[in-house]
Symmetry: C2
Subunit: 421 residues, 2 copies
């Protein structure tokens, strides 16, 4: 087992750096998770590998990355499951008037802008092995993401969850999450079908059958599990085993269908009964280990793949700035305009726009998938990681600027929707 | 990431089979964990690989085993930490009269028998690449193990924890655990020093310095962490991160010292403050995922290495039977005699002997280490896995036979010492 010492020291270093940078970010009024994302970049070739290639290759030898990856993938499955659990269909229905319009505009607008930008960027940043349609669709999908967990964390920290702005933002982000993942699933299916990994008709019909089975059959199983919980008021180990089986099983099915394993874990979370006690008990079992241990491993793994050095020279930095600008204009502009149209004040609509512009770690998840299926190059990956960081970091200070505490309408009922961040 | 689908289906199959066989074992009044151990063997070359090599190699391709292993190693670290947490020095002191004598005899006697058996077995089952001294010491250490977690689980299920027999058994097993791990650490150090992986003096002095630092410095840090817990009455994510850092850090140090990573995780657990609320909150965060997800992965990984087919022909089965007999006579005989000498009735002393004879999964952990450092061959490994299974399976029925419920003295205060099983 020569890999064990390496894995141990990797975990120690990653946890240390993640907590440290996370703590620094908290001190400058940024959510901890952004610091942890940044910590991952620092441990990769962009900083550590550049300052000291010797330390970097001793700490992260290439043959060890598979193990780090398998750990972080398992953690991401739990994480997407927890994110799915935070989506509550009933709460969305209450807000459907504003939420549906705002969220759809805040997806369609950046999606269109993203595909437009692809027209300019494709000949400059891609090659003929990637089809234009795939590149454009992926860019559009990646532009239209909102990081539901980071958003919820920011709202909780600023005590905005109970107010109108917070409620609309959460609802929009939730609808947006589901839509963005559907878009992404479509892109993955198209690209993989082109590589002829699985026949397209199988993926399409299989996915439809799978979603139907989830809603009609598995949903009932889950309600049965919730009753098991209520009988004992505790998550027994049998119950836990069944839930883990469903999460891993669903992830495996979606992976086989050619979508992506994370989609399956997310969907199980979405259709989970949302009774408060059950939800709290279940996330209590999974959340801490996921957030404290596995997510930093994922950030580090992402950071190891991010080579900011690939973005060099005036042209490249221009493309990078363009990507960031398109992301901000598309998401902030689209969401703010739509919110204003539904009757919010400019200030409130602006706040919604800023909040929806948070890309956070969901963007990192999507970018990793894009890199794996080869639809974006390492250089585009680095640019878009920067975009994710910039749009996430700007959220908190801009929010305090446009929508300062003294102007906030709010009621007191802070909900638990921010737990999985 | 071609390994992700494989890893997912492995987890699904392992969880399913482990729960299923575990459930069957519960129906025949055996602890679930023994069923899960057996499930691991069934998935390995001893059954699945023999019935259908095609399915076996599709499900567990050799190149995927590293990932399974890295997951199960992380889980074992948590598990050994939890086992260490269950050891409570103060409770041991209360029982020192019976516990110290019984536990030491119940270690020394099987250890001596084991080394004696090695005289006969070494020329027949080992080769000159392994020194006789190492082989004999390892056999002795492996014979003298008691599975603290399985023992605690059996005592809880039979409501024996509060009684005299239960208390003495737990105390003995606890002392035995620590002694056996020290023995094992010594063997690992000797063998590795022979392979000149780390200079012996460094290991010896380093270990002494490490243990001193743990008792004098880290112990205080841990008491500080417990105070952090008491202030909030909750394990915050910062606190969780610090504890995980200590567990992984300590594991890394012991691994570097040439002992073994698991020893470091175990020791952090041992010196953890044992205040009930803190202990319960902390194991609540780690236990379920460890027991439900990671341990079955470890059992499956062990099973994949166990080739019962290597034990073939009359001679081999005779050696195997000899190992099992020596293990039972040594541990059961030694513990029962010592307990009788301290003034227990024959029946009670017999019950103690049977309980101490439980090898359980701690034996599997030790055997895996032995196989890794090359001190036992795959054939001896298979024999000793059988020994672990036999001695563990026989515990519950024999206990009910020798010490049936109607004869049991007991008081009511069942403690929580059986949580980590």
């Amino acid at each position: 087992m020569p890999q064990l010492p390496t894995l141990l020291i990797q975990v120690v270093v990653i946890l240390l750096v993640a907590r440290l940078v996370g703590w620094i970010f908290r001190r400058i009024h940024q959510p901890q998770v952004i610091g942890e994302m940044a910590a991952g970049i620092l441990l990769g070739p962009s900083l550590l590998g550049w300052v000291s290639p010797a330390i970097s290759s001793a700490l992260f030898p290439i043959e060890s990355l598979g193990f780090l990856n398998s750990l972080s993938q398992v953690g991401l499955l739990f994480f997407m499951f927890l994110v799915g659990m935070e989506l509550d269909g009933r709460r969305l229905l209450e807000r459907r008037h504003t939420a549906v319009l705002t969220s759809h505009v805040s997806i369609i607008f950046p999606f269109l802008l993203g595909t437009l930008a692809a027209l300019y960027l494709y000949p400059r940043l891609s090659d003929e092995r990637v089809k234009f349609v795939h590149f454009a669709l992926f860019l559009g999908a990646a532009m239209s993401v909102t990081a539901f967990p980071v958003l919820a964390r920011i709202l909780t920290e600023r005590r905005l969850l109970g107010g109108e702005v917070g409620a609309v933002a959460v609802a929009c982000a939730a609808v947006g999450d589901v839509t963005a993942w559907c878009l992404l699933a479509a892109v993955v299916v198209l690209v993989r079908a082109y590589d002829s990994l699985a026949p397209l008709w199988l993926t399409v019909f299989g996915s439809a059958a799978y979603i139907a089975a989830m809603l009609l059959v598995i949903r009932r199983v889950l309600i049965g599990l919730q009753r098991m919980y209520e009988k004992r008021s505790a998550i027994t180990q049998d119950l836990m085993a069944l839930i883990l089986l469903l999460v891993f099983g669903s992830a495996w099915v979606t992976e086989q269908l050619g979508i992506h394993a994370l989609f399956g874990a997310f969907l199980i979370g979405v259709i989970m009964p949302k009774e408060a006690g059950f939800k709290r008990a279940l996330s209590g079992k999974l959340e801490d280990l996921t957030v404290v241990l596995f997510l930093p491993l994922f950030f580090a793994f992402t950071g190891l793949r991010t080579r900011i050095g690939l973005v060099h020279g005036g042209d490249m930095w221009f493309y990078c700035a363009l990507i960031i600008a398109v992301a901000i204009v598309g998401k902030f502009g689209g969401a703010a305009l739509a919110a204003r149209l539904t009757g919010m004040s400019w200030r409130e609509a602006g706040a919604i726009g800023i909040l929806m512009n948070t890309r956070g770690l969901i963007e990192l998840v999507i970018l990793n998938i894009g890199l794996e299926i080869g639809v974006i190059s390492p250089a585009v990956f680095a640019m878009m990681v920067l975009m994710a960081l910039v749009t996430t970091v700007m959220t908190a200070p801009l929010l305090d600027l446009i929508y300062p505490p003294r102007l906030r309408r709010r009621d007191v009922s802070d909900s638990g929707a921010a737990r999985a961040a």
